[in-house]
Symmetry: C2
Subunit: 315 residues, 2 copies
């Protein structure tokens, strides 16, 4: 029994509509020529808080009943989910606490605080992170909204797929970056429920390829210590996301760090879009050699976010 159904995604779309931006689809003749097919880029970098994570966080926060919501929400994340949840809570007028390792970059803590969230530090271990999150939940009554392995989060991320389908007729395939699998599993449910003919592919750094290995073996594989510039894709598949991915994803393509960086530069330079490395992973896949074996002529590419440090260049 999958964690969510198409009905959950449709309900999420209605629930978050007043709060979330519909994101545009961009196209590029240059990119089409390079890829040898027609590409449709979903610009989740333009989503509020700079990534698709705001969809899932908003759905989870808005779905809470008033009494539960009033006690606030808590999560553990040093990435885009942290900022997304902080703002989603602020919009609902409830407190958000984000547990971050004390080693996380100051800029990430500042981003959460900037959106009205509270940051609580923990030791950089899974055990201590859980201890602190549980302690906060117990003392405040806050609801845990994890970054991806939660039905309401998955359903919220899936709303992006509904927009892509509405915008692009005759879509044949879609390429979705995969970390914990929240976006990918949400896409699977939304796509397969709406138009089963669309093939769903995952996109992953070779240096963080647990999803590719999991799909290849049919058993969820642990992430070996990942080492990729695509810092949104370092997590392992979740208990809820993995079964959906296993059932629906036709394949996961992996790309090298050099391919990710080259794809990111290309999108900045030719499409004038600031995207983060995780978003460049899907672009690198559709430009890569392995993808040439895919026959689909009209392919969606999820540009999942644009939160990247501008203190340095990457090429």
């Amino acid at each position: 029994m999958p964690a969510i159904s198409l009905a959950d995604v449709l309900a999420a779309a209605d629930r978050i509509r007043p709060f979330v931006r519909p994101t545009p689809v961009h196209t590029s003749g240059t990119m089409d020529a390079l890829a040898g097919r027609k590409l449709f880029f979903t610009c989740e970098n333009f989503q509020t808080t700079g990534s698709f994570k705001y969809r899932g966080a908003t759905n989870a926060v808005q779905k809470l009943d008033a009494a539960t919501a009033s006690r606030g929400v808590v999560t553990h994340s040093s990435g885009n989910h942290a900022q997304a949840l902080a703002l989603a809570a602020k919009v609902r007028g409830i407190p958000a606490t984000v547990v971050m390792p004390r080693t996380a970059a100051a800029v990430k803590k500042q981003a959460v605080i900037g959106y009205g969230g509270r940051v609580v530090e923990c030791e950089p271990t899974v055990a201590d992170r859980l201890r602190v999150v549980n302690e906060i939940a117990a003392t405040t009554g806050a609801t845990l909204i994890p970054p991806y392995d939660h039905p309401d989060v998955i359903a919220g991320q899936g709303t992006a797929a509904l927009e892509l389908l509405a915008d692009v007729p005759d879509l044949e395939a879609v390429v979705v970056p995969v970390g914990g699998g929240g976006m990918l599993s949400g896409y699977c449910v939304a796509m397969k429920g709406t138009d089963p003919a669309v093939t769903v592919f995952g996109a992953e750094p070779l240096n963080a390829d647990d999803a590719a290995r999991s799909l290849a073996t049919g058993d969820r594989q642990p992430q070996v210590p990942p080492n990729s510039i695509a810092d949104g894709l370092l997590t392992n598949l979740g208990d809820l996301t993995w079964p959906i991915i296993r059932e629906h994803v036709a394949g996961v393509f992996t790309v090298t760090e050099a391919e990710i960086v080259a794809a990111m530069r290309l999108v900045w330079e030719r499409m004038k879009l600031v995207i983060e490395p995780s978003a460049a992973v899907g672009v690198a896949v559709v430009l890569g050699e392995a993808f040439e074996g895919v026959t689909a002529g009209r392919v969606g590419v999820v540009l999942c976010g644009g939160n990247v440090s501008l203190d340095k260049l990457y090429w």
Copy 2:
């Protein structure tokens, strides 16, 4: 008698529609909060060839009769107009020659060649540039399409204003970067002809402030050797653009190099848009102290282009 009328802009819009992208208007809560008013950013960085110049070049090229067109077009530019004209000619299936000083960066020559244009080098003086352009026009019969001081170019640039007016109800003012004044004069004619209540402002680097000085004195002032990162705004006002600007522009605001760079970073970081320094000039204006005296609550800001070297950062 102004060089063009609203009818010319409307005709240009019809003429270029099959070739030119309608560009979206982006908004940002962060930017609105900083500016203390509602801002509407026109994304000409998403225009084909990466700048608004493709509008004017396409209008001029498409308007040529078949016999004249077949002899090709020629221009002098080392900037966005060069690329725009090269592609506009390619789309019509006619040759384009671009005269560039031999000192121009190789990447600019490559960009023209990449769009199918031919580059001819000249000495880096106005006299030699004119000599070479005239020689090419005389020997090939090519039509000169200058970067801004041409009725069809001005009319083409003005089509962007029609789109902004159609997208944003109750616009009160618009801020347009000014170099040679092609975009600004086109905006004036389109805006004033359609909705005279919209106030049109120019935006200029303090280090290339000929338009500000011209408007202040009522007489066209020469550009003192300009020195700005906003390399699209270094030229002097034209014979055709200046009278239109003098009649319609309510004021030209100037900004420092540091303000331009800070505005550019802000747009990259918060709006996820790659814009070039010239486009950041208008953003810097609406965020600057001098603009606080403007009462307009709904202000358009022209992001004129996104062609910027990604080999280095600017902050």
